[in-house]
């Protein structure tokens, strides 16, 4: 809006000048020589005089780059033979990469060397301007929107700002934060036409490396976890309904590839943030969730779950609590938390149990009745309190130490009092803790088996079996704790598993159980 008269022309002239300087051999390899003369020109044109003019200059440059890209793409659509995709891209990048280099140099040289604040402020400003142009373009062009110029600017700017140079290393964490904020603002639920480029950007190898490996004290982990949650939130409603359009399948498959890279290279990251991910992944996304729950620390050796007479409670790691870096109680309303704590301590107020289902229910809409995040939070909170309580009595979680406690009262109440939908979510919240050998896996494995053994209706036992089975019959990977629990269920005669009607409800189901049983025996 109301750019000073002539600013547009001035900017166009300066950008053209800079592109020539950037590509001329005399500018030196990192364009520094050319840059110092160009900054003089910017000064002469008064561009650097005020913050407002600098902002307008960057916005106009971005718009010029974007318009050029659309024009070239348009030309290539008209005469693909003349302008093949490779050539179009080379022409677009000819200007885009020059613009990125200009941004990089202005960020590097703004303020004196030690002053990182001016550098980061300028970076955030420029990123914000590109985001603004992108969002406006996306909203105006709708299905004609093209991600390419913005994808190029972000990925090349990220690459250049991560060059091994001292001035950049010294502001690297703030740079990562700036890009993470930018990508969060551009998350797929907000800018769906940018989703494929967005997944490329967060999957970019040097972005992964910086966020998950090179940044000290894992300070990049919570930021990267937030971006994955943004992705799961976008996919959620579509994955929930199972039928995916082809584009959604491509995005989902891309998500699986990224998660497989994380599972293979950074399993501890998935271990620490599994809770937040499971909160946003729909309960019926079995394989996606199994992939995350299958992660285990690289220095841990998992005993083969099918080892005969495996003594799980003898494993060294079974008594150590896993790290959970999500603030999972945040979702609990304060008074609910107060009553819960009071009940856990004193089994009062007695109404806590009878009110529990109502507290967890959101609506009467089938399939949407319950507050999933609250159920997940309640289950994990009660479980962790129970484990602490057992240890405080000098015991360790086992089929005998977990019973007859206010904690188990709550679980048994939920098991009996909830309807099918609610119990499914409740049992899922427990099954989501069945991971690698740790105290949570052990406690919740015992709890699930105990609820099976103590169930007063076969429907509950059937549902427990279903929850386990649906996680086992999907393609790999399968979490270690899930396998351990299921094997115990079908092997331990105390659970009389094979006597149940539902085990033989259909020939293929009995065959399936028998095949699993054979591989265990």
């Amino acid at each position: 809006y109301d750019d000073p008269p002539g600013l547009n022309e001035k900017t166009e002239y300066l950008l053209r000048e800079w592109v020539n300087i950037y590509h001329s051999p005399t500018s030196g390899r990192d364009s520094t020589r050319g840059f110092s003369t160009f900054v003089q020109q910017m000064h002469q044109q008064g561009i650097l005089r005020t913050d407002d003019l600098i902002t307008r200059f960057f916005r106009l440059c971005t718009e010029l780059c974007v318009d050029l890209t659309y024009r070239l793409l348009q030309e290539s659509n008209i005469s693909p033979s003349l302008l093949n995709p490779t050539l179009v891209r080379a022409k677009c990048f000819h200007t885009l990469d020059a613009f990125v280099r200009l941004i990089t140099l202005l960020v590097k040289h703004s303020g004196d060397a030690a002053n990182s604040v001016t550098k980061i402020n300028l970076l955030n400003k420029v990123l914000g301007i590109v985001v603004g142009v992108l969002q406006q373009d996306h909203d105006q062009r709708q299905t004609e929107f093209h991600q390419m110029p913005y994808h190029r600017i972000f990925i090349m700017l990220f690459y250049e700002l991560n060059a091994p140079e001292h001035v950049l290393e010294s502001i690297n964490f703030q740079t990562l934060t700036a890009f993470t904020n930018t990508y969060h603002i551009l998350r797929p639920t907000k800018v769906p036409g940018f989703s494929f480029a967005w997944l490329e950007l967060i999957s970019y190898r040097s972005f992964i490396s910086r966020m998950l490996l090179q940044t000290p004290q894992q300070k990049g982990w919570p930021m990267y976890a937030q971006l994955l949650i943004d992705l799961f939130k976008f996919l959620g409603p579509f994955l929930r309904n199972v039928e995916l359009t082809k584009p959604m399948q491509v995005l989902y498959r891309g998500t699986l590839r990224l998660l497989l890279v994380l599972l293979h290279d950074f399993p501890e990251f998935l271990c620490d943030y599994h809770y937040g991910f499971c909160d946003v992944i729909p309960a019926n996304c079995i394989q996606l969730r199994n992939l995350i729950l299958s992660a285990f620390p690289r220095n841990m050796r998992l005993p083969d779950p099918f080892t005969p007479n495996l003594k799980v409670d003898m494993l060294q790691e079974i008594n150590s609590a896993p790290r959970i870096l999500t603030n999972f109680v945040a979702v609990m309303p304060a008074n609910f938390r107060k009553d819960l704590d009071s009940y856990l301590k004193t089994r009062a107020p007695v109404t806590f149990l009878s009110d529990l289902r109502g507290n967890l229910q959101l609506s009467n809409e089938p399939g949407m009745k319950y507050n999933v995040a609250l159920i997940n939070s309640l289950v994990l909170y009660v479980g962790t309190q129970a484990i602490q309580y057992i240890y405080s009595k000098g015991g360790t979680p086992s089929m005998s130490t977990i019973t007859h406690s206010s904690h188990m009262d709550i679980f048994q109440n939920l098991s009996v009092d909830l309807d099918t939908e609610g119990r499914y979510l409740f049992l899922n919240a427990i099954a989501n803790q069945l991971r690698y050998p740790n105290s949570h896996t052990h406690y919740f494995s015992c709890t699930l088996l105990y609820l099976f053994a103590e169930a007063n209706q076969e429907a509950i036992q059937e549902q427990i079996t279903r929850v386990l089975l649906e996680r086992l019959i999907v393609n790999r990977p399968h979490p270690w704790g899930l396998l351990i629990t299921f094997i115990e269920l079908i092997k331990n005669p105390n659970f009389k598993f094979w006597n149940h009607e539902f085990v033989h409800c259909a020939p293929e189901i009995s065959k399936l159980f028998e095949s699993v049983a054979r591989s265990c025996m």
Binding site: A163, L258, V261, R476
Partner: protein, 47 residues
């Protein structure tokens, strides 16, 4: 039953990290060395 995750083009048994050569979430091919931008000594920028 989900996807067979061993067919997505990632060598899940690789002893090395995969992210080094992760080309794209939409590609089955890992990066080749000539695809990976590298901060080489500036003297190498002969062109």
């Amino acid at each position: 039953l989900g996807n067979d995750l061993t067919t997505l083009g990632l060598n899940l048994n690789s002893p090395d990290n995969l992210y080094h050569k992760f080309q794209s979430p939409f590609s089955k091919q890992p990066c080749r060395p000539q695809d990976i931008d590298f901060f080489v000594p500036s003297e190498y920028l002969t062109n």
